[in-house]
């Protein structure tokens, strides 16, 4: 077998012309329960190391696990949202392996009896194409602690002087969701992979089972990929790329593995079934360490726990309480708001859905809300490279702003200045209008004075208008607007000018 130091890659487009990629994704989500999977240690992000522990999560002699009922409920919620069957009875098992971040030297997980199985979920790509992903299973397990390797250049264990272990994370409940092989995506496999993980993230948030923050590791993905000559061929040998922890990386990792495996196959080589590491910085994968006692975890049913047997009534009540899921919600809102497909997609992709919904709830028309968030605010967000949701303006303020326009107190041009004030932290739109003196001048007396000045300055215009040519009125309006620094209602000025000229 070739030992490659220089990795050959086939151009992606070329690779997918000649090979059919098949993906499989395992997603781990940390549940947002108050306490751990098997004990009452509280769970909070960022605590001092080893402060969120009990004899159980430290694996002290004599300690016993007890299943967290809330975690089971959350796992069932996830299972139901993914259209899975919920087991009438299922067991935990012990996955035995020695590693210092696993306090008992076995992980309590589910093995052959997952709580949820045989589901599916539709994922939507950016252009609206829908791809169905079949779910094999969703099972409960506990997280490991966190090792920190100190003293090496890379932060990895090799070359480190010593390692520290933080067991705060040990025992945090996880649900692992495993897909069946995802076929039929063809060249769009990377997009499907990304959209799938993104869809799951949205579902976790909608279900309120996890904060689902990728950057905190609440959601972690392992990406399996194999190539085969044609969609009719048997599945090829797969690799599993571990800990691909952003949407973009999921897409990149799939692309990279397609290119790499295509090169191996082109050279008449064999893809090695292995675990690979994803390198965020360089965008490549490398082979993982081969474990000496390869993969014999000596699973057996966890004798310290009785089977989990969710009653059908409980499952039914959880099902009844499920919130509207993101896809359904998007469809409903699009219909209610009357957005075109492309408009809706842009809104979703810009992360403006929640903002627009809140703005509409606060009283703005769907069109008005979209105009602000996808127009002026999107432009400013892009300029400053910030998320829309992170802009320092609330949907309620946007609604108030639009309300001021609708009532005629300010015009569109003034509204942009008001928004500027709001973004600068000068308060609500009302306050900015007052403080900056931006209200439309609706006092006819003040306007007439300005009009008379303008007419006096351009007597020829008066003649033309009187002669029946209304075109030059615009010049007078412009002069009045200039004189009032834009605070005049242009429509009213026009009416007054015509009246004045008679």
């Amino acid at each position: 077998m070739s030992t490659q130091t220089q990795v050959d890659l086939v151009d992606y487009d070329e690779a997918v012309r000649r090979y059919d990629p098949v993906i499989g994704i395992e997603v781990h989500v940390e549940l947002g329960t108050l306490t751990k999977m098997f004990c009452a240690a509280e769970v909070e992000f960022g605590g001092e190391p080893n402060t969120q522990v009990t004899p159980v999560s430290l694996g002290l002699p004599g300690a016993l696990p007890v299943v967290n009922g809330k975690a089971v409920e959350y796992a069932i919620r996830i299972g139901l949202a993914l259209n899975c069957e919920i087991a009438e009875s299922c067991r935990f098992a012990r996955k035995n392996y020695f590693y210092p971040d696993v306090p008992k030297n076995f992980q309590t997980s589910q093995y052959d009896e997952p709580i949820a199985f045989d589901g599916w979920i539709d994922v939507e790509l950016e252009d609206g194409t829908v791809h169905r992903v079949e779910i094999e299973r969703a099972h409960m397990e506990e997280d490991a602690g966190k090792n920190t390797h100190v003293g090496g250049a890379t932060g990895r264990i090799h070359g480190a002087e010593y390692s520290l272990v933080d067991y705060n994370r040990a025992g945090i409940p996880l649900v692992e969701i495993v897909t069946r092989p995802i076929t039929g995506a063809g060249e769009r496999a990377p997009e499907v992979a990304r959209a799938y993980v993104q869809t799951l993230r949205d579902i976790f948030r909608a279900l309120d089972v996890s904060e689902a923050r990728m950057e905190r590791g609440n959601v972690r993905a392992d990406v399996n990929l194999s190539l085969r000559p044609t969609p009719e061929s048997p599945l090829g040998t797969r690799t599993e790329t571990k800990n691909v922890n952003s949407f973009r990386s999921v897409e990149r990792a799939v692309r990279y593995e397609v290119s790499r495996q295509a090169a191996v196959l082109d050279a008449a080589g064999t893809v090695t079934q292995e675990t690979r590491h994803w390198h965020e910085d360089t965008g490549i994968t490398t082979p993982g360490r081969v474990k000496s006692d390869a993969e014999d975890y000596r699973y057996f049913p966890e004798p310290d726990l009785v089977p989990v047997a969710p009653s059908r009534d409980w499952v039914a009540s959880i099902k009844a309480s499920l919130p509207e899921l993101p896809v359904a919600r998007r469809r409903r809102l699009q219909q209610e708001w009357g957005y075109a497909d492309a408009e809706m997609r842009d809104v979703v992709n810009a992360g403006a859905l929640d903002l627009i919904e809140a703005t509409v709830t606060a009283g703005t028309s769907p069109a008005g809300a979209r105009k602000w968030w996808m127009g002026e605010l999107a432009r400013r967000a892009k300029q400053t490279d910030t998320e829309l949701a992170a802009m320092s303006v609330t949907p309620e303020q946007i609604a108030q702003l639009q309300g001021l326009v609708d009532s005629g107190r300010i015009n569109d041009k003034l509204a942009r200045q008001v928004l500027e004030g709001v973004l600068a932290g000068e308060g609500d739109p009302e306050q900015v209008v007052v403080a900056r003196g931006l209200e439309v001048v609706s006092d006819d007396g003040a306007l007439l004075a300005a009009i008379d000045d303008a007419l006096a300055a351009q007597p020829d215009i008066v003649e033309k208008v009187r002669g029946g040519n209304l075109g030059p009125v615009g010049a007078i309006i412009g002069a009045v607007m200039k004189a009032t620094r834009g605070q005049a209602d242009a429509g009213r000025v026009r009416a007054l000018v015509i009246e004045r000229i008679g």
Binding site: P55, P61, G62, P100, F300
Partner: protein
């Protein structure tokens, strides 16, 4: 006031404490003195927590003086097997790998002992991680049988049984995975009860085999066992396998049984747990006890449990499998012994290997290797899987037997106490000691051993009673009836015939 407080049963001592003619401090001190006198020879204790015990005793005496309502056993001292974690009191499970470890928490049953005001005298010796039938596998030396200091006190709970038999404690806690309460009871002339699986919380028991382990009372009388069982038993939300139902009334059953009327009771003699392989004196005492029970009105029938002959084989697959996983946590990373390799890099893996290599004794290693093998890919179905099927068959045998009889009986152990070293080099011979006690653990049913006489060699013999799951009260009714009738013929407790131990002070 009695001359020697250590000779009283727990129930009698409690009665004296209630009337106030004895203080808990006096009772506790008397037992600590007795430990000081004889434990040099017996070596039942690995750690004596005298200060802790006396502090509890003083507190109980003060509360009693203040007129507080106290538990019936308040102030009665107790010894605890060293496999049960005790906050602030060293706990080793008889292993070097835990030498010096002081647990930061109490087992649920210890919490209950403390809440009820029982002074904890100390921790008792045992086979390492409760693996053995003689206490010879302790990393801290042998415990002697008070009947003959050259003989084993049974195991794994030899320390608790010997402490009670030598009057070092009126009560003790044992644990029983395959007979570790009952077999020591048999060979030391004491009473030991393995409750129904799930009847006493396992939270804080250093696990050997989670699906088999059960804690229970070690005492000199059946009534004392009932009193202690009621105190430590009952539901515990920290143990998922704990039964969420009230215990049957055990003390009442013991009192009722002591009245001696067993009419209407059907006793099943298990064919497979008698006869061949049992010492002649053991079989003779067993037969006599059956006659005594018949004399009390019970009907004795024979029942067959054909799958019991596979029990030992199934047990020696299930127990080591679970143990191999339960003992994985002893790795030098978080608590207890930590050994760095003598040369070469100090990696986590190598520290774990060095620690386990040095910290575990031979019997523990033997079982870890057996269990690791039995759970390995490709062998799981043949070993662990088959053993679980045998377990189901044994449960069915029990079901069928209990459809015919209210309780089942057998000799507790095939022989009386053997000499030190006699079976140490023959693991299979050692394992055969538990042939009569193991089926109860595999099926989760409760069992009791009580003394029923001396064999031809002058050493005590045990009588085992088994009852259906959650019917522990039947053990106490039958046990108390037999105890009362036998003591009547003997003219006092069997332990009165034990040789006086030489006092070393």
């Amino acid at each position: 006031m009695t001359d020697d407080l250590t000779r009283l049963s727990a129930a009698d001592l409690a009665a004296h404490l209630v009337t106030g003619d004895v203080s808990s401090v006096d009772a506790t001190q008397a037992h600590l003195d007795r430990v000081a006198d004889v434990d040099g020879a017996v070596h039942a204790f690995l750690h004596v927590s005298g200060e802790d015990a006396l502090a509890t005793a003083r507190d109980v005496d003060a509360r009693r003086a203040a007129g507080e309502d106290l538990h019936p056993l308040a102030g009665v001292p107790i010894a605890v097997k060293d496999v049960v974690v005790t906050k602030g009191i060293p706990t080793t499970a008889g292993s070097k790998i835990l030498e010096g470890w002081v647990p930061p928490y109490d087992a649920t049953l210890v919490e209950r002992l403390r809440a009820a005001g029982l002074p904890i005298l100390g921790k008792t010796n045992m086979d390492e991680f409760a693996m053995g039938s003689s206490t010879e596998h302790s990393a801290y030396g042998n415990t002697s049988n008070p009947w003959d200091l050259g003989r084993i006190p049974g195991g794994s709970g030899g320390g608790s049984a010997a402490a009670v038999a030598a009057y070092e404690a009126p009560l003790a806690i044992g644990t029983d995975t395959g007979g570790s309460i009952r077999q020591p009871g048999a060979v030391t002339g004491t009473v030991g009860v393995k409750p129904t699986y799930g009847g006493v919380s396992r939270y804080g028991l250093i696990a050997m085999a989670s699906s088999l382990d059960q804690a229970g009372p070690v005492t000199r009388t059946v009534l004392d066992a009932a009193l202690l069982h009621e105190l430590i038993g009952g539901h515990d939300p920290r143990d998922s396998t704990s039964i969420n139902e009230p215990l049957p009334l055990l003390v009442d059953a013991a009192r009722q049984g002591a009245a001696g009327d067993l009419r209407g009771l059907r006793i099943g003699v298990v064919t497979e747990l008698n006869g061949e392989g049992y010492q002649a004196g053991v079989s003779a005492r067993f037969a006599e006890s059956l006659e005594v029970l018949q004399g009390l009105g019970a009907e004795v029938i024979e029942v067959s449990c054909p799958h019991f002959r596979y029990a030992l084989g199934a047990y020696y697959l299930i127990m080591p499998s679970e143990a191999s996983s339960n003992l994985a946590k002893f790795d030098g990373m978080r608590f207890g012994l930590r050994v760095e390799p003598e040369d070469g890099p100090v990696t986590a893996e190598r520290v774990m290997a060095a620690t386990r290599g040095q910290g575990f004794g031979d019997e523990v290693k033997r079982r870890i290797i057996l269990g690791t093998y039995a759970l390995s890919a490709g062998y799981y179905d043949a070993y662990y899987g088959s053993a679980q099927k045998v377990r189901t068959l044994i449960q069915r045998d029990f079901d069928a037997a209990f459809a015919q009889a209210d309780v089942l009986v057998s000799p507790t152990a095939p022989t009386t106490a053997f000499r030190f070293g006699e079976k140490l080099d023959d693991p299979l011979a050692m394992y055969l000691n538990d042939v009569a006690t193991i089926p109860a653990n595999l099926a989760g049913v409760p069992g009791m051993s009580l003394p029923n006489g001396l064999s031809d060699d002058g050493l005590p013999v045990g009588f085992q009673i088994l009852a259906p799951v959650k019917a522990d009260d039947r053990l106490y009714r039958v046990g108390a009836a037999l105890e009362a009738a036998l003591e009547n013929t003997w003219g006092g407790p069997l332990l009165d015939r034990a040789p006086e131990l030489e006092v070393s002070r």
